[in-house]
């Protein structure tokens, strides 16, 4: 009882990367709390996913298998998930901050009247003393996230309610296989009884999910453009440069919001977290919202016309000047010297 539980999302016939990453984080938290790690699979034809969940050190797998549970719709999934949580009574619940996770988690938190923190960039176990009542709480989940547009970092706790729920974006946590033959207990959830009482209000008429075009999480070199790039054309220039040096192109939230680059390229708290060996930030000021997703890069080069830009604080090399002039020079000298 009172274990750590991870909601495993099924995406394009596999367990979503973010769910796997959360299992790895969940395993560590469970070890620290001396409890078990549980995983929840909700959908159809789930047997094939068991192995990919087991090997990350999952002790208990809840399987809710039913044709009517795929594709995802809110109310049936919420009803099943709620039922599992009421039986399992976990102390911590982790959910990927995806379109599905961000639809499901708040609904569930409202039903269970528990706290939920969105888009955490770190999860740590620690104690907490209520400033007013002086009550001490041991081993709470510190849910750490940038807030206020990324200008501050807040540590949130839920001292009095259980479970403590958090959503986390893809790429924030690292995946680590525990053992290929890790033993999990499988619990088949009696779905039919639950679904009989559910309101299937939402019907999916059409669904068109595109395979991901860009996946930056594995990139070794990333050239990332910010609002300072100014246009789609500017990004075309960056892509050209990236191709020259063998890099992938990322974008800051401001650049994506402005329509300069696709959402899949977004790096930061509300995009992906990356750890390349070289990160070249071009025209990016460096709000925490962004740096949270790239500060673990091995080497950071910043190109900005403002020498005081916050990004320069974490850059190994800061080049001050106009990227329109610097990027072509970098391309030229690369071509000259790489031969």
């Amino acid at each position: 009882m009172n274990n750590v539980l991870v909601y495993c999302e099924i995406e394009e016939q596999k367990v979503a990367d973010v769910s796997i990453e959360l299992l790895s984080k969940g395993r560590k938290l469970a070890d620290e709390l001396n409890c078990k790690l549980e995983a929840v699979l909700i959908g159809k034809d789930l047997d094939v996913f068991e192995k990919s969940v087991r090997r990350f050190g999952t002790d208990i797998i809840y399987k809710a298998n039913n044709e009517r549970l795929y594709p995802y719709t809110t109310l049936p999934h919420a009803a099943v998930f709620e039922n599992i949580l009421k039986n399992s009574q976990p102390q911590i619940v982790l959910v990927g901050a995806t379109s599905i996770g961000r639809d499901l988690a708040p609904r569930i938190a409202s039903t269970l009247k528990c706290g939920l923190t969105a888009d955490c960039t770190d999860l740590v176990i620690g104690d907490y003393t209520d400033a007013k009542t002086k009550t001490e709480y041991k081993n709470l989940l510190y849910q750490i996230r940038p807030a206020f547009g990324g200008n501050i970092v807040a540590t949130i706790v839920n001292p009095q309610t259980k479970p403590q729920m958090a959503t986390v974006r893809e790429g924030v946590m690292k995946r680590e296989i525990v053992s290929e033959d890790y033993k999990s207990e499988i619990i088949d959830v009696d779905v039919k009884n639950i679904l009989d009482k559910v309101n299937f209000a939402v019907k999916i008429i059409e669904r068109h999910i595109e395979a991901r075009k860009v996946n930056l999480t594995g990139s070794q070199i990333i050239v990332c453009g910010g609002f300072g790039i100014g246009s789609k054309n500017g990004f075309a220039q960056l892509k050209e440069f990236a191709k020259t040096i063998g890099a992938d192109v990322g974008a800051s939230r401001a650049a994506v919001d402005a329509g300069f680059a696709e959402h899949d390229r977004q790096v930061g708290q509300t995009g992906v977290t990356v750890r390349p060996k070289l990160y070249i930030a071009v025209g990016i000021s460096g709000a925490i919202q962004h740096t949270a997703g790239m500060e673990e890069s091995s080497q950071i080069i910043s190109i900005n016309n403002d020498p005081e830009a916050p990004i320069n604080q974490i850059a190994d090399i800061a080049i001050t000047g106009d990227w329109n002039s610097i990027i072509p020079k970098m391309a030229k000298f690369y071509r000259e010297q790489s031969k």
Partner: protein, 291 residues
Amino acid sequence: MAFKIIVLAKQVPDTRNVGNDAMKADGTVNRSALPAIFNPDDLNALEQALQIKEKNPGSEIIILTMGPPRAADIIRESLYRNADKGYLITDRRFAGADTLATSYVISKAIEKIADYDIILSGRQAIDGDTAQVGPQTAEKLNIPQITYAEEITAIEKGKITVKRRLERGVEEVECTLPVLLTVHGSAKACRPKNAKLFMKYKHAKTHTELQTLDDDYLGQEIKNKAFLNIEEISLDDLDCDLEKIGLLGSPTKVKTIQNVVHTAKDSMKLEDNDADIKNLIGELINNHTLG
């Protein structure tokens, strides 16, 4: 077919354009340095409501916001765009609410003010980026939710069809009414203020604002015209469980807030000149960072 629509909107500090004076020396947020604006996604939600109203004469749009007295601006901004009526939920006792306590109060207010067919809100507010209040309000009202809505493609008696913009695609769904929709930022942008409506509603005021108004004649004028009265809802107007509101009703507690100052690395400073950049690229090639 006429529909009753409630739009949930929030006044937020404009965190997108944060200047150097946004943080105080003690590490707290200097709210006065940030302009208060209509949360961007909520404007997208309002536009969807206005489109339903245009296509379905007789439909009514009620705008509902929760915040300090100055959040009445959100209601005026909506009236200028052809919303019909607004309510401001305001009470110091609601302060410190997290998303759970906020959605509780909003759902109580909705239950009090009106029947509805559709509730629309922005997907998320830019000050917290949680995207939680919409789904939590739907849960409290025990109605279905459609998040990430981009376009209402059809609406008829008892049924709505919505296109959703997901991370990696689109989905078209059909749902029974009533329903709560959270509208994605990629939805059609909201129309500008209408000049005639601006003239009509520019003196619309809440009771609190009227009390501080220094113009007795105007004050009387406003009182005489019902459409210029923005209704305020306080805790006393609602049937709330005191343990579920404000700080007490919020399971999430902020343990610490840090204004993160990156410990400045000893970074190498380069200029935009051939020698510096040539050396840099040479070094990156030599140490095999670049292939």
